[in-house]
Symmetry: none
Subunit: 110 residues, 2 copies
DNA sequence: TATAAATATTCCTTTGAAAGAATATTCCTT
DNA sequence: AAGGAATATTCTTTCAAAGGAATATTTATA
């Protein structure tokens, strides 16, 4: 789950969202994000090391493009939580409520 | 997308995965993760501030439980990247699957 | 080949967040 | 009311990672 750690940096999240619409060069990314080129390169290095992007050199420039695997992985992980928001979990509230009642009764029992 | 920044800390990711199986108290979490109680409390504070968990006090203890909204939000965000890893052939299947999910959600919403 | 454009790397400084330790708070039990 | 268990908070220290600035590298073109 490297993707989460890597995307926790706001600029990198932004870069990934830019690349959602297609590959871009370093310069284009730097310009769109209002950052200097070295910073863009550094963030792209981190993204590349984590496997989130791949590079396609073209003449002078380098196009960065999203890779799918990390997103698939995140999707799989997220799916393991799906039962939580499909509201099968609400009876746990009742369970906790029962616990509270039991303890209340015990304490007032003597 | 606070959820990504909050889950970038490994211990917090671990806590969330523990809570996937149901609510736990601070002490239980600290024990299972081999960390000291104050650290557990501090991480839970961060998770709580970000809306990832909610608290259910019960006598001496406090049960922490996952909230669904941030996960839904992450799911929505992730879906905006789905075209990247599921091109042309699978599109129809995904569309149908999404429709089914939507109907499921609607019916459980009431 | 020299120069310019695009990109990468290195070094240094700064900053934010996590850990550690001690203490405070809350609530139950006796 | 006192003591104890569970949890929260505060303060300090530590450390990794991001930014800034300068420079190196690569590739194209004159």
């Amino acid at each position: 789950m490297k993707i989460i750690r890597v995307l926790s940096e706001p600029n990198r999240l932004h870069i990934v969202e830019l690349l959602r619409d297609g590959p871009l060069t370093v310069g284009e990314i730097a310009a769109k994000l209002g950052m200097r080129q070295p910073q863009a390169s550094k963030h792209l290095r981190v993204l590349s090391d984590a496997g989130l992007v791949e590079v396609h050199p073209s003449a002078n420039r380098r196009f960065y493009k999203l890779r799918s695997e990390p997103f698939k992985e995140l999707d799989t992980w997220l799916n393991s939580f799906r039962s939580i928001w499909e509201d099968r979990f609400d009876r746990l509230d009742d369970y906790l409520h029962d616990i509270q009642q039991q303890e209340k009764n015990q304490s007032s029992k003597k």
